[in-house]
């Protein structure tokens, strides 16, 4: 009995860690730019593919693969922000959010289909990152899940350090709080926007890479998990990294346990109902600071 619960618990927080990273990226973009990035899932998917090909072609070391994936997607994010989103901000001025949201939708369509054309429709996965299974007191734990957990925590710590202790992080926070004031203080807002977008989608890429040993990926995996990213943001609050972490863990645990007890179908329905209730009652989420 206890073994089952612990097993599920571990599974839940590993899954939750991935959701947290995915949602954190979304939350960051939303917190700084006020933009709902509907293409977040596509970046998760692309990040997963990059890591997959890196592991299969270059090196079996997962950390390298994750790093390469992050860097490439980070660069892609910056390019997309500069080419597309910046243009929308210029043409639509203050009311750029709706067109911006729609632009991300267009980006999603294109990236997903390019992935299908480039990589084919079949599922891919990686057998495992580290082929170890630990046995502690009769309870079996795959090392991969522990790795995911530890890695996720490290990323979040790094993120917090970056946002609060570095100059760039302070600039990002400044833009998030008050864009015009930040502009007046000499911060290049466009640059911050681009970096933030890149970082946000880079986090999705990390999440995607971490999925590989657990699930299989294909070009639609981003869309299928997109609701999870938004759920994390809604639960944890827009703009809050800690909130995203907690929201993600809650989501992961809920999914693991409710799927076990009442089956995955009903579980999701109740969960989405919960999300809608949260949207109605406390739209800014548990830790949110920004009103819509």
């Amino acid at each position: 009995m206890f073994e089952q619960i612990f097993s599920l618990f571990l599974y839940g927080i590993a899954l939750g860690g991935i959701y947290a990273l995915f949602g954190a990226g979304l939350s960051l973009i939303y917190g700084v730019q006020d933009l709902a990035n509907f293409a977040q899932g596509s970046f998760l998917m692309l990040g997963a593919y990059i890591a997959y090909f890196t592991i299969n072609l270059l090196t079996h070391e997962p950390l390298t693969a994750i790093l390469i994936s992050f860097l490439l997607i980070f660069a892609l994010g910056i390019i997309i922000d500069i080419l597309l989103l910046d243009r929308i901000r210029k043409t639509s001025g203050e009311r750029w959010l709706v067109p911006g949201f729609i632009v991300t939708t267009g980006v999603m369509l294109i990236l997903d289909q390019l992935a299908f054309l480039g990589f084919g429709g079949q599922y891919r996965n990686v057998r495992e990152f580290y082929p170890m299974i630990l046995s502690i007191g009769g309870i079996r734990i795959t090392f991969d899940r522990i790795f995911i957990l530890i890695f996720t925590l490290c990323v979040f710590i790094a993120l917090e350090v970056f946002i609060y202790k570095t100059k760039l992080g302070r600039a990002i926070r400044a833009v998030a709080l008050n864009r015009d004031a930040a502009n007046l203080m000499g911060i290049n807002v466009s640059r911050i926007y681009a970096i933030t977008f890149g970082l946000g989608v880079g986090l999705a890429a990390i999440a995607g890479s971490l999925i590989l040993p657990i699930f299989s990926i294909y070009h639609k995996i981003g869309d299928e998990t997109l609701t999870s990213a938004f759920s994390v943001v809604i639960l944890g609050g827009c703009g809050s990294m800690v909130g995203a972490l907690i929201g993600g863990l809650i989501l992961g645990l809920l999914e693991a346990f409710t799927t076990y007890y009442i089956g995955s179908g009903l579980a999701k329905i109740f969960f989405f109902l919960l999300i809608i209730i949260v949207l109605m009652i406390r739209p800014t989420g548990i830790f949110g600071r920004r009103p819509a």
Partner: protein, 417 residues
């Protein structure tokens, strides 16, 4: 806010745009009608995206190889074969539009292909509207048989090359009961857990198991249903683990699902004889699962080695167990057309039913009532296959046997190293 008025120019542009779009489609459609005398056009439907895209790709390659072989010998009745492919995305509405388009626009003479029963069961009524023969290569749900039997005139043009889910399920149980009877295995208990994919095929096989395994003295302790394409079995397996079954029978079609299942079974330390179902068919299964796939049992079909070499020479990354379905489809069709001496639908249909057709797998004879291939030693029959150390080999029946069945885990399980 509102448009104050619609200028003439504006309306004109709008009207022209609409006309051009419609006329453009018509023109393209008409232009597509090439003179057809020298070719026979065969539409092939397959899942080229989605959970079974791997199997779909190999199926397509099997068709291409068969077309090349047949064309090298002069084609069918002197006409060269032209294949038109379409992606059904494992979705019924896509399959329906695809079939209608192949028939009405591409004007194919015959249609072959298909993997998922749930995708093609809904297409039966659409096929009934036209007079084109559709030979379904892989769909195996017995729901087809039932519907064709009840409505033979309506569904007369639908043929099923594969054995049905009752046969596949019974076959696995046959092997199992044989193995136990011959004293080769003493299972630690008589408990079975079933995991069915929520498709007509998945449920069909597991329902067969559910019914028949009890007759052999087993108890079904769990019957879980999972989504098509599911890759997360952690919760389901955790639940099953507490019942401690000696056998887990899963019927999953997507190779990723099968891989995930065998991995998670071993990760959770479940000691059970594992049947992953159709998902084990393609080589990605043991490639991605590695040692996790060891000792899994699967219903295979023998394919002549010479043909396998030929296939791999032409398509080095292909998989014979998936490609051969496509190859045999064209062989069967070509044989029927030759025997009928004509491309006329009614004559070919008669020939399909009347004659046996020799393919790679065996001899195909279609049951006149269900239009499905008949199971038998002298017709087509599967073999039991085991995975071990990255390879698969037949273990039963005798005439196919490549090795002895090994199953070392009786009491506890060692993690794969």
């Amino acid at each position: 806010m509102f448009k104050k008025g619609l200028s003439k120019v504006y309306i004109a542009i709008v009207a022209i745009v609409v006309i051009v779009a419609v006329v453009g489609s018509v023109a393209y459609y008409i232009w597509f009608q090439k003179p057809r005398v020298e070719i026979v056009r065969i539409g092939v439907v397959a899942p080229l995206s989605g959970p079974v895209a791997a199997q779909g790709k190999y199926l397509k390659q099997g068709f291409e190889l068969a077309a090349e072989d047949l064309n090298a010998k002069g084609g069918i009745l002197g006409r060269k074969i032209e294949l038109v492919f379409g992606d059904d995305q494992t979705k019924p509405d896509v399959a329906i539009s695809l079939i209608e388009r192949l028939i009405t626009v591409d004007k194919v003479d015959f249609i072959c292909g298909g993997t998922s029963s749930s995708t093609y069961l809904p297409t039966m009524d659409v096929i009934a509207k036209y007079n084109v023969i559709v030979l379904l290569s892989i769909p195996a749900s017995s729901s087809f048989d039932v519907r064709i039997k009840e409505n033979p005139e309506k569904y007369k043009n639908i043929f099923l090359q594969d054995l049905n889910d009752t046969v596949w399920g019974s076959f696995e149980i046959l092997w199992l009961s044989n193995t136990i009877k011959e004293g080769k295995w003493h299972p630690r208990n008589m408990k079975v857990a079933l995991i069915a994919e929520d498709t007509d095929w998945g449920r069909g096989v597991c329902d067969t198991w559910n019914e028949m395994i009890r007759k052999h003295g087993f108890e079904v302790v769990a019957y879980e249903v999972v989504d098509y394409g599911q890759v997360d079995f952690y919760s389901v397996l955790t639940k099953i683990k507490q019942y401690n079954p000696a056998i887990i029978k899963a019927e999953l079609t997507g190779v990723a699902s099968g891989v995930a299942l065998v991995k998670q079974v071993k990760e959770l330390g479940i000691n059970a004889l594992l049947f992953p179902g159709y998902s084990a068919e393609v080589h990605e299964f043991e490639e991605l699962a590695g040692a996790y796939a060891d000792y899994a049992i699967y219903y295979g079909y023998p394919v002549p080695k010479k043909w396998v070499d030929q296939l791999l020479k032409r398509f080095p990354d292909s998989d014979p167990t998936a490609a051969f379905w496509g190859y045999d489809s064209l062989i069967i069709l070509a044989d029927a057309i030759e025997k009928a001496g004509s491309f006329d639908t009614d004559k070919v249909r008669e020939a399909l039913l009347k004659y046996p057709h020799k393919g790679l797998w065996g001899t195909y004879v279609f049951d006149p009532q269900t239009h499905r291939a008949i199971w038998g030693e002298e017709y087509v029959t599967p073999g039991a296959v085991e995975f071990y150390q990255g390879k698969r080999y037949f273990i039963w029946p005798e005439r196919l046997k490549e090795g002895e069945w090994t199953y070392p885990y009786h009491d506890f399980i060692q993690p794969p190293s």
